[in-house]
């Protein structure tokens, strides 16, 4: 296993956490094409800091020079939600093994982003998650059984997006970034104080839609926050094959959007950065692009075999940077958590998982007629015809039995 040098956390070190660094050649030096004029580049204030920003280091120590920590109750709540989220995630993975879920993309390792991003939102804000962000949605308050109905194969989205202001989990990569921008811009047009937080992965940044969303957001000064969970992989493809940029947060300046590079395993840093970006957005100052450096501990989904493209040393190195351990260490050293408290939290999480497990064991009856019910506001004449023919077919089959 690689030895880790925890503080200060340098991008260089972050890269060392990856085994496959051979391709990793971000282009950070200009090769001057000609003797450029001495005039300094504009807008450098939009660039991210060179090293990922951190408030609590992996050993649980506050990085005091980086700024103030969120208040203790917030930190405690971040920890509590991460414990529950982690347990939910493990339970979901277990359900795939029991055949109760068709597939599950785990966010183990990205817990600080899942929880920190969502807790920074206000009641009236919207969340635009992807398939990997079930923990974020659960943290937002959506019924976990409803969250899992997609992955259970029951229906494409099991919850009402308007209830908790959570868009359906988005599978086509990067497409949700545009939805978030549109929703946020509509809020501005309607004079509503709503911010949209959209989650996307490192791979999704390569899609054209991400580019268009960043650009529309910037031109419209839309109240939207892009939280990019850079977990190092798009399925099997490492970041080095995805980009040659110094960091993904460096994309911001090309749109006139400030880019922030943060330690995505530091829940305090994620929470603080997203909260500040939400405030900026709500204050009419436009979008922010936040790149949170983190790691996907599990395979892409339970169906994936990660040993084909990365080695266990790499995973072990990142396990040592666990976001829960880090915050727990801080809370304990700050006297905010003791064994009793930790035990109560564990019990709460177990209870959460037990209820989920039980509810997921119940079979959900599927109604074939519903296939035709929601395609249009009212089923069209051809769809009514098709529904009737399916129902007749089922009746006949029933009669035959």
């Amino acid at each position: 296993m690689q030895s880790l040098d925890f503080r200060p956390f340098r991008a260089r070190h972050w890269r060392q956490l990856f085994t496959d660094v051979s391709h990793w050649e971000p282009n950070v030096t200009a090769v001057a094409a000609h003797p450029v004029s001495s005039s300094p580049p504009a807008g450098t204030g939009l660039l991210p800091s060179g090293e990922p920003w951190q408030l609590i280091d992996p050993a649980g120590q506050p990085v005091t020079e980086a700024g103030p920590l969120p208040p203790d109750p917030t930190l405690t709540e971040l920890y509590r939600r991460m414990v529950i989220g982690r347990r939910f995630d493990a339970q979901a993975t277990a359900l795939t093994k029991q055949g109760r879920l068709a597939v599950y993309p785990s966010s183990h390792g990205q817990d600080a982003c899942q929880v920190g991003g969502v807790l920074a939102l206000r009641e009236q804000d919207w969340l635009f998650p992807t398939y990997r962000d079930s923990v974020a949605i659960v943290t937002r308050g959506v019924d976990p059984v409803e969250v899992l109905s997609l992955l259970r194969g029951e229906w494409h989205c099991g919850y009402d997006p308007h209830q908790h202001r959570v868009a359906p989990q988005c599978t086509p990569l990067a497409t949700n970034t545009l939805h978030a921008v549109g929703l946020a811009h509509a809020a501005r047009l309607k004079d509503e104080d709503t911010v949209a937080l959209v989650l996307l992965g490192d791979g999704a940044t390569s899609e054209g839609d991400t580019h268009e969303a960043l650009n529309f957001a910037a031109v419209w000064k839309a109240p939207v926050v892009f939280l990019l969970q850079n977990n190092g992989y798009a399925i099997s493809v490492p970041l080095a094959k995805q980009t040659a940029a110094p960091s993904l947060a460096h994309k911001g300046i090309g749109y006139g959007i400030p880019g922030e590079l943060i330690d995505g395993n530091d829940a305090a840093a994620v929470y603080t950065t997203v909260q500040a970006a939400v405030e900026r957005a709500a204050g009419g100052q436009g979008p922010t692009l936040i790149e949170a450096l983190t790691y996907r501990i599990e395979a892409h989904t339970n169906a994936d075999d990660a040993t084909r493209y990365r080695n266990s040393d790499e995973v072990a190195a990142w396990l040592a940077r666990d976001p829960l351990t880090r915050l727990e260490a801080y809370l304990r050293s700050a006297g905010q958590l003791d064994d009793d408290g930790a035990g109560r939290l564990r019990a709460e999480a177990e209870q959460f998982a037990a209820v989920l497990r039980e509810r997921m064991n119940a079979d959900v009856p599927a109604d074939p007629a519903e296939l035709f019910a929601h395609v249009y506001a009212e089923p069209t004449a051809p769809l009514r015809e098709q529904r009737d023919s399916l129902l007749a077919e089922l009746r006949d089959a029933g009669e035959q039995r």
């Binding site: 497409t175 545009l178 939805h179 549109g182 949209a196 268009e212 529309f216 929601h374 395609v375």
Partner: protein, 345 residues
Amino acid sequence: MTSTLDAATVTMAGALNTALADALAADQGVVVFGEDVGTLGGVFRVTDGLAARFGQDRVFDTPLAEAGIVGTAIGMAMNGLRPVVEMQFDAFAYPAFEQVTSHLAKLRNRTRGAVSLPIVVRIPYGGGIGGVEHHCDSSEAYYAHTPGLRVVTPASPADAYRLLRQSIDCPDPVIFLEPKRRYWSKETAQLEAGGPALDQAAVVKRGTDVTLISYGGTVATTLEAAAAAAEEGWDAEVIDLRSLSPVDDRTLTESVRRTGRAVVIHEAAGFCGYGAEIAARLSERCFHSLQAPVLRVTGFDIPYPAPALEGHHLPSTDRILDALARLQWDDEPDERWLDSGGAHA
């Protein structure tokens, strides 16, 4: 809701402009955006004057990105607006194809009806204007094959007004295809939003011998052909479909059962084109009434040609009349299909 105007001579572009203005006035939630639709008023002037009248918050230019336009429209609709967006030309809607097929068409179903997307995507389509490549595509079959979308196309100024108003009011996403070669066609009409349902076809000429079925840019050609056919002794009925999806089976089958013969006309490539669906449906539903096969008069299966050659590509009255003549009036089968091999592979 009726436009305040009395019957007057109006172009299709003008009727669409009035429809947008009336919709913007009627509903604060309506927003109109796209490339060049604001200050310029659109390259076809369909949005002329709207930005000045309703302000930059309701009618505005976007950055140049079609997926961006449709994608943000989806987000806006999730937040209660009724976006009407313009794709500048048919082929320039393709960058938005994923947003259209994977989200616009599916989001209501995905959420069991919880999320409604009352969005209209306006697309000037088709050729016949001497346009260069990529400016003359007929893309209706792509959209009509996509469940969850409505596909509507007007053939006259009055229909353009009514169908656009109804499309904007419709809770479903509508792909609104505007036959650009008819933009400057004129009609004296009173513009009204009320009338038949959005998905009802129109019998635009009554007839007894054969049913000619068309939509959009080729309805006018079809009516000309019907007039010419009358001189040859055939009394043709002409149907303007108006709504391509869903299709109005009742009007179609009622007509074809009566006439016993049908020809479908459109300018898009024939192979897997919209006419295939009509021909297949009618062949199934009117099998025992058909005196001859349902024929199709369509564009060839080639990329839309350059202006110098488009005249050969587009369905002409002559070509429609040729098809009529092949409808086995004398009970003799079409000799082209008599050899058992069909085309030689």
